[in-house]
Symmetry: C2
Subunit: 496 residues, 2 copies
């Protein structure tokens, strides 16, 4: 199989698109801005979803399902929310088609106009808080800890597979609490869940932080986020967790009888991650040979390729492979025996490399005689011969764990190399141009300065890192642009 | 907890609505025809979905995701399909809102009109076959065995929770094959998967059959279905599997190079079940005390209620319960210890009865002394005392299996009692009025007769049962209405 993938160093953007295409992850559909997630790409999403769902349930959440459509008037109820979301959305105005009189096909039936237009949800705070109003009367009804897996639509003008599409898949948690402290604790807990998922499952180191006011979710009091660094030195926001204060409770009049006999507005949170994570996974780990997947999220963890001449050799190899396969499956390792007789081993090797399968086993006649098997790891390309005995499955299991860890460490080392402390405006612009990456700089805390920096450099404040996230950020100083006092360094970067 | 559920015999329809409301399964939303599936109801859907997904994967299918929106022109490409689906659908005409100049809120921006309207998918054959055109070139690309879990929208005028809603959740399988035989085999295989799921998981006996022409899916050559009988004597279609012939391949010009060097149109199938199954589950098994859930789909299989006076007794009971809970969880049985101190045991018993939890355990001071525990099964209401020893968990496991089987047998006996062979028009109308249920009657095979029977009685042909499904149906005779020759009996009923 000829690959023809451009090198990352030559054209990162084209490299990204080609990886998605050649590894069969997704493609643009005939519908503007909407993608088709192909089975292999969807397998990655299923692995992500299953693990996140387990983590949500372990932290006491349950799933539910709310309507796709939001009446237009709901959107207007929270003032800053409507500003943020009403501008780019799909609007349903009619509920019927009819045959065109000239026989040319179907047309929208003008008689079937909705009294109030419906918005295809860009996010569900409004429709969910209008429902919570009926579910919450007393402190006994709190907390409500609910998550939804759903599709949402935001009418983006410039789209990019996985990273920015008009329709995308996500989960959105929406919780309601009796106190501010409890809601903040929930917001922080879910940020931690996302960070643990990113680091332990996606092998992606992230910075936990809080957004500046201008990057905050429309309707939130505080937006927490995890930020990751891609191989081209640009940042990618991988998940957000919002403390909503009482904003949506106010907008939808959601009050509860307190233990003490009073009546209070409910405190809220919302948090979400999306199919964008697949884009992050690709951009963080893959290389010029194709996709590199961390074993814990790989739809297929091990592939076995037979090297043979003639039916007789194949039969003997297949018999041995059946044993190995059985032992791997027994340990919960997913495995495929690629015995297609239409392709040669070299083609198969290239194909599975392109698809990022973490471990490839190859078994030939000589291996069979020697009781060995060739084991290749995708992340480093290293090959070794192992004994094909009863210990093989546990050795492969250990290898998969090692690959998971190595991919993480490689990404962490990359981030460390590409995180720069800058102390002057000259240094800021020079490092940004020459090196990219995360810039740790002092900022005077004003939206004006943030905006000026963005206009001049296209770099934005990715987050104000939480204590303990990055060494040297929790110190006072002077703003790189204005020289005014700064309470701590923040993270600047150009971003997806 | 006062129940106030009407009896099935008094008002079946109100009983159904009250079960849904009181058991916290779902509710109508502020959006016309769209429901909110509440966490407990969604738990049932998750159990259904997980098992169906396993069965789809075991039969070689993979999941993918296709766009929510369908360009209007796609719908028109398959002539009978557009007739069936274009008439009741949500139409997106604009992609932006803006602030009203009078400050009254947001309005649709007339500048942001789509060139071509988008339909919110009522089903995805068109958008999927337009994609398959690019995926299929050669016989080597076949078969394509793909499933999608998604939301769909059909603008229904009269809606009913779970049974008929504007938006619903479902899965839709869409497969492509090189030969007619292979596609028919796939259609039949998925019908069998649905029937096995209904019988073994939902404890719901079903008749496998084929639809008459007038009940066929718009665009299909043949529609196979499973039909179940509800407790009010009405039928409910629980799943359909369509042999599409080459209709969609023709409409979207999907051809493949054959092994022999020719060029042929691809053969297709599609098949689906939806959240409607939850309606079927409720209607088939529940009783005047509330929901009755088959253990294999119950979000919670066992609940344990402590009977105690004072903290000291509670502590001793809780210690024993922790042991029991551990042993049940180790067997994969879901269990909740209801130690709320805000409610009395009687209230808890009624609540879990209402929610259909298959097994309730109650543990009091005397039990503790005697080494026993009270075990109540929801389906029959029977109570027994069991030894609270090391064998308890396996005894509960066996009891759950017995409940699963008993619920199925009860439903099967009900169906048998309510399936009537009728041989004349008088008998047909009399049995339909007095008894309802499934009527096995001869029919002359014409759409005219079918339509007349429907007009006069509201009964429709639920299916033409496959051989082996119902005794006595595979014999020739004379149509109950016209007396013309009939090749076999078909199943008539009033239906949901
Ligand atoms: Zn540096
Ligand atoms: Zn009878």
């Amino acid at each position: 199989m000829s690959k023809g993938i451009p090198k990352r160093s030559e054209d990162y953007s084209l490299w990204y698109n080609e990886i998605i295409k050649r590894a069969d992850l997704a493609e643009n559909s005939g519908v503007r801005g909407c993608m088709v997630i192909k089975p292999y790409g969807f397998g990655i999403w299923e692995a992500m979803r299953d693990q996140l769902d387990r983590m949500f349930k372990q932290t006491g959440h349950v799933n539910a399902y709310f309507p796709l459509f939001i009446p237009k008037s709901y959107l207007s109820k929270e003032a800053s929310h409507v500003e943020g979301f009403a501008k780019e959305c799909a609007v349903v105005t009619h509920y019927r088609l009819k045959n065109a009189e000239d026989g040319s096909g179907v047309i929208v039936d003008p008689e079937a106009k909705l009294e109030e237009e419906l918005i295809v949800r860009p996010t569900s705070e409004t429709v969910i808080w209008s429902t919570y109003k009926n579910w919450i009367q007393s402190y006994r009804d709190l907390p409500l800890l609910i998550n939804q897996w759903a599709n949402v639509v935001r009418w983006e003008m410039r789209t990019r597979l996985f990273l920015r599409t008009a329709e995308f898949l996500w989960q959105e948690g929406h919780t309601a609490h009796a106190t501010s402290q409890e809601a903040i604790a929930e917001t922080r807990q879910m940020l931690d869940v996302y960070a643990r998922f990113a680091e332990e499952w996606m092998a992606l180191p992230v910075i936990r932080g809080v957004k500046s006011e201008s990057e905050r979710f429309a309707g939130a009091v505080d937006t927490y986020c995890i930020e990751a660094l891609m191989q081209d030195g640009k940042a990618l926001q991988a998940g957000t967790s919002h403390f909503l204060g009482q904003n949506f409770a106010k907008a939808f009049d959601v009050k509860f009888a307190t233990k003490e006999g009073g009546l209070d507005l409910v405190w809220g949170t919302s948090w979400g991650v999306s199919t964008r994570l697949i884009g992050a996974l690709i951009m963080a780990h893959s290389d010029d040979q194709g996709l590199v997947l961390p074993p814990r999220l790989a739809p297929l963890q091990v592939v076995i390729v037979p090297i043979y001449k003639g039916e007789e050799q194949l039969a003997a190899i297949s018999e041995k492979v059946a044993e190995i396969k059985q032992a791997l499956l027994a340990r919960g390792i997913s495995v495929r025996y690629d015995d297609r007789d239409t392709e040669r081993p070299g083609f198969k090797f290239a194909e599975w490399e392109l698809k990022g399968v973490p471990v490839r086993l190859a078994l030939g006649q000589r291996d069979l005689q020697n009781g060995t098997i060739e084991v290749a790891r995708r992340d480093t390309g290293e090959k070794q011969s192992m004994a094909a005995d009863d210990n093989l499955a546990s050795a492969i299991e250990a290898l998969l764990a090692d690959i998971q860890q190595s991919i993480y460490e490689k990404a962490l080392a990359f981030r460390q190399e590409n995180t720069h402390v800058v102390n002057s405006w000259d240094e800021f612009t020079q490092v940004l141009e020459e090196k990219g990456g995360f810039l740790l700089a002092h900022w005077d805390g004003t939206a004006e300065t943030e905006e000026k920096i963005k206009e001049q450099t296209k770099a934005t404040i990715r987050c104000i890192p939480l204590p303990g996230q990055l060494e040297g950020t929790q110190e006072e100083g002077a703003c790189v642009l204005t020289g005014k006092p700064s309470r701590q360094r923040v993270v600047f970067a150009r971003a997806y």
